[in-house]
């Protein structure tokens, strides 16, 4: 699994509570990403990082923040969870800027988050 660990694997939380998901990699890849996967929508990019302390927004970033204080760790925080954030969250890494055959996205096994 390309040395990517996501924690927790499952989480149930209540509306309005803060939630932090963690992604840890052992590949020393520069680029890290957070996606959410929902039926009918596929994978949608939330935030990404191109280095320590360097992050930017993806297409569905509202309600989410990220931090990357070390190369190996990328945290996703839901400041105040809502039911619409119930989803499966995937972390991904890539070696270079160009995601293609020579630098594909490698995904973790996901965190299943339920907001009640």
């Amino acid at each position: 699994d390309a040395g990517i660990t996501q924690s927790p694997r499952h989480k149930v939380t209540e509306t309005g509570t803060p939630v932090t998901l963690r992604c840890h990699q052992t590949e020393n890849h520069r680029y890290m990403y957070w996606y959410r996967q929902d039926p009918g929508h596929g994978l949608r990019l939330i935030h990404y990082s191109y280095g320590v302390k360097d992050t930017d927004k993806g297409e569905v970033s509202d309600g989410y923040s990220v931090s990357r204080s070390k190369t190996e760790d990328f945290l996703l925080t839901l400041e105040s969870a809502t039911s619409s954030q119930t989803s499966v969250y995937f972390c991904a890494i890539s070696e270079s800027f160009l995601s293609s055959y020579n630098s594909p996205l490698h995904f973790g096994n996901g965190t299943r988050l339920t907001v009640t």
């Binding site: 990517i4 596929g42 991904a92 160009l98 293609s100 996205l105 995904f107 973790g108």
Partner: protein, 113 residues
């Protein structure tokens, strides 16, 4: 309209059948086309890639791109129960980088023994 459209299935076939999975897209700037396979409760993994138009073959898998029609396909020959998974197409503009990769919604495939 979504940039990438993919029939969600599910698609159920008998073992040994030829499977055809397809995606259409609207952005003519896409240059790299990929297929990811995702087993249940797992993350996606890269299965095939193609640059621009043409075919690429890898064992039982063939990826095909028709840029004039904005249509890509993945063919699986002699399908096996172990091929049962969700298949996601993905594509990006080479110059835009990995974070501009757009994924299809995925097609669930079941191969019956």
């Amino acid at each position: 309209q979504k940039e990438v459209e993919q029939d969600p299935g599910p698609l159920s076939v008998p073992e040994g059948a030829i499977v055809s999975l397809n995606c259409t897209y609207s952005n003519s700037a896409f240059q790299y086309f990929m297929w990811y396979r995702q087993y249940s409760r797992k993350g996606p993994e890269l299965l095939m890639y193609t640059y621009s138009s043409g075919n690429k073959e890898d064992g039982r898998f063939t990826a095909q791109v028709d840029k004039s029609s904005k249509y890509i396909s993945l063919f699986i020959r002699d399908s096996q129960p172990s091929d049962s998974a969700t298949y996601l197409c993905a594509m990006n503009n080479h110059r835009a980088g990995g974070f501009k990769t757009i994924f299809g919604a995925g097609t669930r495939l079941f191969v019956k023994a």
